[in-house]
């Protein structure tokens, strides 16, 4: 697997992470066999979109040791950017999506410089504030964004053939998830990635070794924003409709929860966290009025029992079981 919590500053063997990636790709390819109808496809797609955002966010939180409580803002901006370019300015979505993603990345670069001078809880507040500002602006400028009730988004078109339907989109999103994980792993194992992980240990120590902390923090911040914006754009064209709630503070908290739940400093943890916390509310809906209580209880119990998150704890358990003499 890509990393274990005790060795977060050491590199994991290449073969381990490549195996994990292959497993993920095979799983994604075989999953449709288990999905009976369009509703389950929709859930799978939602999981994939959250996974892309969380993989990016995990780079920031788990590996670089920063925090962002406003990442849904980037998600929402990516979604609205592509939606507005496509529907109000008539751009083809195949163009508006990447352009919107890049624009959000540029914004993250502009905003990241001053914001990343903050540390710890102050950074949390800074990013939280940014996220809230974005969601309020998106909801208030109704002439451009359609206001709190949202706006319709034209579908993705390839040579004037509209891409719609859950099954087609499933493959698009599945490919995007595999790509996202591959990109993340490449970064983590590169020299830049090691510099980033050194930051997590201690910024002062890293600087002493010659690592430009501010520059690396900014790069990871922008990268994670790009992931989120791309995921947002994809959601917009898939759903055909977006609302400002996608950029809300509540959604930002959900994303951080998914990352921590799955296991920080674990790319697959981010994917697993997204999967569990996206499907769980759907499953719990049968409990009707007990859904909220159960969700809260599950979150608390899991973090109390597995404080390092789902995947690292399971990894350790499996490793411990393997070490036991037969």
């Amino acid at each position: 697997m890509s990393s274990s919590p005790t060795a977060s500053s050491a590199g994991a063997p290449q073969s381990g992470s490549r195996r994990g990636l292959l497993a993920l790709a095979i799983f994604a390819a075989l999953l449709p066999l288990a999905l009976p109808n369009a509703y389950t496809y929709e859930i799978a797609i939602l999981v994939g979109i959250n996974a892309i955002t969380c993989v990016g966010l995990n780079l920031l939180i788990g590996y670089a040791g920063q925090i962002s409580l406003g990442h849904a803002g980037f998600f929402g901006l990516g979604a609205y950017g592509s939606a507005i370019l496509a529907s109000r300015y008539g751009w083809p979505p195949l163009l508006s999506l990447p352009v919107s993603t890049v624009l959000v990345g540029a914004l993250a670069w502009l905003v990241g410089r001053p914001i990343l001078r903050l540390r710890g809880h102050y950074l949390a507040m800074g990013t939280l504030g940014l996220g809230v500002i974005v969601s309020i602006v998106l909801a208030t400028e109704d002439r451009i964004t359609g206001g709190p009730d949202g706006m319709a988004v034209p579908p993705l078109k390839v040579f004037s053939y509209a891409i719609g339907g859950e099954k087609t989109w499933y493959w698009i999103i599945a490919a995007a998830v595999v790509l996202a994980v591959w990109l993340a792993q490449n970064l983590i194992e590169s020299p830049r990635g090691r510099a980033m992980r050194a930051l997590h240990g201690s910024e002062v120590a890293a600087s002493a070794v010659g690592i430009d902390a501010a520059r690396h923090k900014l790069h990871v911040f922008v990268l994670s924003a790009l992931f989120a914006a791309a995921a947002g754009g994809l959601t917009a064209h898939y759903s055909g409709f977006i609302t400002p709630s996608k950029s809300s503070f509540v959604h930002s908290i959900e994303l951080v929860t998914m990352v921590v739940f799955g296991g920080m400093a674990s790319t697959f943890g981010a994917v697993v966290g997204a999967a569990v916390l996206t499907t769980l509310p759907q499953v719990l809906t049968t409990l009707k009025e007990y859904e909220m209580v159960t969700l809260g209880a599950v979150m608390m119990l899991t973090m109390i029992v597995m404080p390092q998150g789902l995947v690292p704890t399971l990894e350790k358990a499996i490793a411990a079981a393997r070490r036991k003499p037969v």
């Binding site: 903050l118 507040m125 800074g126 500002i133 309020i136 910024e203 007990y290 969700l295 809260g296 979150m299």
Partner: protein, 288 residues
């Protein structure tokens, strides 16, 4: 006009101050941001409304409500935070987020999803003061908040328990070596924060009602105020709350009411960029 805006800002600022103080107290004792802080406010308001609707008089209902919230705070500390000791700060934050969801869910089960009023402590007749009109409840809000803050200050600076809590926040190991029970301090901090939050909820409910989800926004603003004032500083939290309330109100009055929250957050962000540890924050030494 200015007087009216300032008064409105002071009222809501006092509530933010109480919530922020709750954040600061728990943070000082445990380095944890308790995202369920807003829910203590909600419990204070909803429990009082529930007791009043069941026929109890307001003072008794308020006391019982504060007691309920304190109990919830203690339970939260015992069963969630204590069990997860040694976990990273982020994990603890997620636990408190889970707790806030759980508490909101419980609120919809124990009470309901409706909005509930609470009778004003001394009626609804507006008072005119310095060119502004205010509800009598506003006097209660500002007065009782000030009293609560004064009591908290006295507690931390003049009583042994309070000083012990301050000691833990300065240096946990040294405090333990001096014989202070850190566990007891944690428990007290949660109980105190819960009580303060509940008090805020009871004070504001006659003006702006209460429902199962009032905690979300108030928790968010209270957290912002605590950070603005400098996390871990009691006076900072109070100052942060008042500043936030007044900035919001002035922004609504003189600039654009639709964007008043945006102004408030922009001001906070600007303040943090120039004062990265908040208004009164201590510069924590980072050990390498």
């Amino acid at each position: 006009m200015l007087a009216q805006y300032l008064l409105a800002g002071l009222t809501v600022g006092a509530i933010y101050a109480l919530v922020a103080l709750g954040f600061a107290i728990i943070y000082n004792a445990s380095n944890v941001i308790n995202f369920a802080q807003g829910e203590f406010v909600m419990i204070g308001g909803m429990a009082s409304a529930g007791f009043v609707e069941a026929g109890l008089g307001l003072p008794l209902a308020a006391l019982l409500a504060i007691g309920c919230a304190t109990l919830v705070g203690i339970l939260l500390e015992k069963f969630a935070v204590e069990r997860a000791r040694g976990a990273s700060v982020v994990t603890l934050i997620i636990i408190t987020i889970g707790a806030s969801i759980l508490l909101r869910g419980l609120a919809t089960l124990v009470w309901d999803k409706k909005i509930h009023p609470l009778p004003g402590f001394s009626g609804e007749q507006p008072i005119v003061f310095a060119g502004a009109t205010l509800l009598p409840q506003v006097v209660w809000v500002i007065g009782v908040s000030a009293l609560a803050v004064a009591l908290v200050w006295w507690f931390f600076n003049r009583t042994l328990t309070g000083k012990a809590m301050l000691a833990v926040s300065h240096n946990r190991l040294a405090a333990r070596l001096a014989g202070i029970s850190v566990r007891r301090v944690l428990l007290t901090s949660f109980a105190l924060s819960a009580a303060l939050g509940a008090l805020a909820g009871i004070l504001i409910a006659p003006i702006s009602f209460t429902s199962w989800d009032v905690g979300i926004m108030l928790g968010l603003k209270g957290f912002a105020a605590a950070i603005l004032g400098g996390l871990g500083s009691g006076p900072g939290a109070v100052a942060g709350g008042l500043v936030l309330g007044i900035v919001e109100s002035l922004g609504a009055g003189y600039l654009s009411s639709a964007y008043k929250d945006v102004f408030a957050f922009l001001i906070i962000l600007a303040a943090l960029v120039f004062l990265p540890d908040g208004l009164f924050g201590r510069r924590a030494a980072e050990r390498v």
